[in-house]
């Protein structure tokens, strides 16, 4: 894994150092690190000649630009109306039981973080969840257990 400053300068080389490159760069860091640390944001501020506070303000606006330490796999359960109607709570209970963490928490081995999120756009196949960028739909407790087992083996 590259050092944060190396990663950031390579992202900045790729996307540019103008303000409009900020989101792609933040997304690039998330892809590798799963979250934006204080040091990372400082390094971005330095690289792009932007105020660090501005980067913090911008990052915290977006739900997917996490600024707290995340696990390797971030599980986001859709909590909006249809998923909520179609058994989202069951899904959460199943995952909580399997991973022994609550919503908002990360497993001690930093492998999984469990979060809820707003509408994922899979209402016709509710309930749905994301694990990092992968979508899983029409979930039920069994299916979730299966999916998680494959991640646990990774």
């Amino acid at each position: 894994m590259a050092q944060p400053s190396e990663l950031i300068s390579s992202l900045a080389d790729k996307y540019g150092r103008q303000r409009e490159s900020l989101l792609p760069i933040l997304q690039g860091v998330i892809k590798q690190e799963r979250y934006l640390s204080e040091e990372t944001m400082i390094a971005i501020a330095h690289e792009m000649n932007l105020p660090a506070a501005d980067i913090y303000g911008t990052a915290t606006f977006y739900s997917f630009l996490e600024y707290k330490k995340m696990g390797e796999y971030v599980i986001r359960i859709c909590k909006t109306i249809t998923c909520s109607m179609k058994g989202k709570n069951q899904i959460i209970l199943t995952i909580e039981d399997m991973l022994k963490i609550g919503v908002g928490e990360t497993t001690p081995d930093r492998k999984f973080t469990l979060l809820q999120t707003n509408c994922l756009g899979w209402c016709h196949k509710a309930p749905a969840m994301l694990i990092n960028d992968e979508v899983y739909t029409e979930l039920n407790p069994e299916k979730v257990r299966e999916i998680l087992s494959t991640y646990l083996k990774k």
Binding site: Q18, Y62, I81, M85, C119, G121, C123
Partner: protein, 394 residues
């Protein structure tokens, strides 16, 4: 109440025609003004939900003088209950790309963007491949145009066009003051056409088959077809292309589970229609002479009698209080007050009459919020509270 229209299915958007190269090169040879007039005469209105006339938007942008113009495809599909845009981009991306190029040709833009919501990241790879192929062809026919994907990062409000532009410029996705409008000052303060994915796909139909074909579908003020994202208590959830102007009772007859209590038209920012109003409600844009017309981005969520309307409203309000950008008072504080207010009534900490206070508050939100998000919270709130008042209290 006279029934004006029956449910009519259509198949334009997803019909895989594989003729985009032909349509593109043919259209790029036509006169720009004629193309705009064609589009205007189709009476196509924006399919994201707001319903602004598409032809007029393109015309205004084409008339703006500027060193640079942009075409943006709004694929920040975040309205609860909407998922059609993803299907379009997955199944018929070339229609959208072709429409963007035609729009660029008409308006004088050189650069296009697709703002793709972060939740659809898995689409990025295939879409990029389609773009590469498309741009290769554009180069081939000597049409100078670029299309880049800009990924969102999880913010419903970025579907609002000026918030989307702020986001693309690297800022918090906060809606701007309007005027100026994007047709004059959009992305990077340059004239910009920003259209919903589906709107662009319809323009493909119009440029291919002519405006008349489109205009002949639907009803007065609501021409053409529309994709509907159907979910909730229905035996057949999915995406359906239907002619506009249908009555809600016809819709429920077709899609309901036999026990439909209410339908949420237009997602969380739309209206909840109770069973007793199905027959007088039509799905289309304002201007019809009889009945109620509800414009919609295409989200149709059905609820049967097992569902608590209090829970539905509670879910929407939680959504809005989290997804409001937070900059303007009525939306930021209003959403919190509405959400906590219905809880307080439900739990008996506030009297039932407090609902009236909250209804007045939503009126203020509607009149004074800076953008469509805060303005439309009143829609679901008032339609649920007024029609299911007893469920809010007991």
């Amino acid at each position: 109440m006279t029934r004006e229209y029956n449910l009519k299915r259509a198949d334009f958007i997803f019909r895989n025609e594989n003729d985009w190269e032909h349509i593109l090169s043919r259209t790029l040879k036509k006169d720009r003004r004629e193309l705009i007039n064609e589009l205007i005469s189709s009476e196509l209105k924006g399919r994201g939900g707001a319903g602004f006339p598409t032809g007029l938007k393109w015309k205004l942008t084409s008339e703006s003088e500027a060193p640079q113009k942009y075409v943006i495809c709004n694929a920040d599909e975040g309205e609860p209950g909407t998922f059609k845009d993803r299907e379009i981009l997955m199944k018929v991306p070339f229609k959208v790309l072709t429409a963007m190029a035609i729009c660029a040709y008409i308006t004088g833009a050189n650069n296009g963007f697709i703002y793709l919501r972060g939740e659809y990241k898995f689409l990025q790879h295939d879409l990029q491949k389609a773009i590469d192929e498309f741009i290769y062809y554009c180069n081939d026919i000597n049409f100078k145009f670029s299309i880049d994907i800009f990924m969102g990062s999880g913010a419903y409000i970025c579907g609002e066009e000026t918030a989307l532009m702020e986001s693309m410029e690297g800022f918090r996705g906060e809606p701007r003051n309007k005027p100026p409008f994007p047709t004059g000052q959009g992305y990077n303060r340059m004239p910009t056409v920003i259209n919903n994915v589906e709107t662009l796909a319809h323009t493909y139909t119009i440029f291919k088959h002519g405006a008349k074909k489109f205009y002949d579908l639907g009803v007065q003020f609501s021409r053409g077809t529309k994709l509907f994202s159907v979910s909730g208590d229905t035996p057949k959830p999915g995406i359906y292309e239907l002619e506009l102007g249908m009555s809600l009772s016809d819709f429920v007859n077709d899609f309901g589970d036999g026990d439909t209590k209410a339908v949420q038209v237009g997602g969380a920012s739309g209206f909840l229609v109770p069973r007793k109003k199905f027959s007088e409600t039509n799905i289309g844009y304002k201007g019809k002479l009889t009945g109620i017309s509800l414009p919609t981005g295409g989200s149709m969520m059905l609820f049967n009698s097992t569902r608590s309307m209090y829970n539905v409203l509670d879910n929407y309000l939680e959504f809005f209080r989290e997804e409001s950008c937070g900059q303007c008072t009525p939306c930021r504080v209003g959403c919190q007050q509405l959400h906590m207010g219905i809880k307080a009534v439900k739990q008996g900490q506030k009297p039932a009459s407090y609902l009236e206070k909250l209804l007045k508050l939503t009126e203020t939100m509607q009149y004074t919020a800076k953008c469509g998000l805060g303005q439309s919270v009143a829609n679901s709130f008032s339609s649920i509270v007024e029609n299911f008042r007893e469920e809010m209290i007991y």
